[in-house]
């Protein structure tokens, strides 16, 4: 007696435990005479195992902070998300108001110090970091997948060849970058993240004509730590919400790479 032909759908249902028990026995008998179907079945099972091996590690990854927050009911979220950068932004507002005050008062004063109008490099960088790094959907303008395009564009706009440092050895991967307004012209920001989703930004400004090179300097702007230095016309600032010594290590690596160029 021959069992009625087993369809591919039935074979799948057999594998996935969706087949009625009575039919399972028939399928098993039928398989004995159909080695090519057994091979297909085995392959489907191998696919299942391989998919688990490839993607199960995602289950153990730390869930990014932004997603954890998005899982919370919206009411609780709104209050929490704003805190970090408003602290810094408030500081900048004071600087800007101060600057504007100077601007409006210029008629009465013989000379307004230009410095009053410009925001210091570490503060610019910290604000840019605080504004863009928590953005899950659009942290950068151009993603690292189009790195060549990103580098060409930013180099052209800043008028100097730029190269985002490779920080893979420190577990940091380039996400992408964007163009930003500085005190008097364009500046560039590159963003990186580590395996835990922690983000770090490198801010590069070309507005340092006439200034001397400096050694590493450290600044703390609210929750953001910043290492910055000036090298010729270029000012660099590395910002992240990570501990100072950890950030120092990254800064040293960035500096070393830029030196080699």
């Amino acid at each position: 007696m021959t069992t009625a032909t087993v369809t591919d759908s039935e074979l799948n249902a057999f594998l996935d435990g969706e087949l009625a028990p009575a039919r399972c026995a028939e399928v098993e008998r039928w398989l004995a005479g159909h080695p090519e179907a057994v091979a297909r079945l085995e392959h489907a099972r191998a696919q299942r195992d391989a998919l688990h091996r490839l993607f199960d590690p995602v289950l153990d990854e730390p869930v990014p902070e932004a997603l954890q927050q998005a899982a919370q009911a919206p009411v609780r979220r709104a209050g929490r998300q704003r805190v970090p950068w408003q602290q810094i932004a408030a500081g900048v507002l004071v600087t800007c108001v101060g600057a504007a005050g100077g601007w409006f008062a210029r008629d009465r004063q013989a000379a307004t110090p230009v410095a009053a109008l410009s925001v210091p490099l570490p503060r610019q960088a910290a604000v840019a970091h605080a504004v863009f790094s928590p953005d899950v959907k659009r942290p950068v303008e151009i993603r690292a997948e189009q790195e060549e395009q990103l580098v060409t564009w930013l180099s052209r706009r800043l008028g100097t060849p730029l190269h985002p440092p490779r920080l893979g050895a420190l577990g940091l991967e380039l996400i992408g970058g964007r163009l930003l307004p500085g005190n008097s012209g364009p500046v560039a920001q590159f963003m990186y993240h580590d395996a835990a989703g922690q983000r770090l930004t490198l801010y590069i400004s070309t507005e340092n004509t006439g200034k001397r090179d400096t050694a590493f300097r450290f600044a703390q702007e609210g929750p953001v730590n910043v290492f910055y230095w000036i090298d010729g016309e270029l000012g660099y600032a590395l910002s992240a919400g990570m501990p100072k010594d950890e950030l120092a290590r990254v800064a040293a690596a960035v500096y070393a790479q830029l030196e080699r160029r």
Binding site: A44, A46, Q47, A50, L54, F55, V58, L59, V63
Partner: protein
């Protein structure tokens, strides 16, 4: 529905999104959109129904919207184009290096069904509910999806648009 229940689903939503979309950031964006839409449509949630299926259904609809918007990137591929006759694979152990790339070449509607069943271990009925398609469609997409993936892994034709002369 509460935050803790949604938080508990996060790892699986992320795993599925990663497998479906490929890119880590794009996948997490999709998860974030899903969570936001879930909260905004809380009134449509029926207490007592399966939260996971509901969240996967939301994600699926968002993904369809996404694909419609980026129509340029998802040029429809002739479904049978890479069905080349191949010998049964010698080894049942699949190289993970090839798997992600091979998976990306399986048409998305088949990939979704394949992943929900093989990776997320949903029942056929749950998949039908999450994707809003009949049970028969789940089964036929699963068949084609598994077969596509097998062919791609085994034959790896140079181009997915290669035509088979019959």
């Amino acid at each position: 529905m509460d935050s803790a229940a949604i938080l508990a689903e996060l790892p699986r939503l992320r795993r599925y999104a990663r497998a479906l979309v490929g890119d880590r950031m794009a996948a997490d964006d999709l998860v974030q959109d899903t969570l936001e839409r879930a909260w905004s449509r809380l009134d449509r949630w029926r207490p007592g129904s399966d939260l996971r299926t509901w969240l996967f259904a939301i994600m699926h609809n968002l993904r369809i919207d996404q694909l419609r918007r980026q129509a340029v990137e998802c040029v429809p591929i002739d479904e049978d184009a890479h069905l080349l006759p191949v010998r049964a694979s010698q080894s049942d152990r699949i190289e993970l290096d090839n798997l992600a790339a091979a998976l990306a070449r399986v048409p998305e509607e088949q990939r979704a069904v394949l992943l929900l069943i093989s990776l997320e271990e949903m029942s056929y009925a749950e998949v039908a509910a999450a994707l809003g398609i009949p049970l028969g469609t789940v089964m036929s997409r699963l068949c084609r999806g598994r077969e596509h993936l097998r062919q791609i892994l085994a034959g790896d034709p140079a181009s997915p648009r290669l035509k088979v002369v019959r």
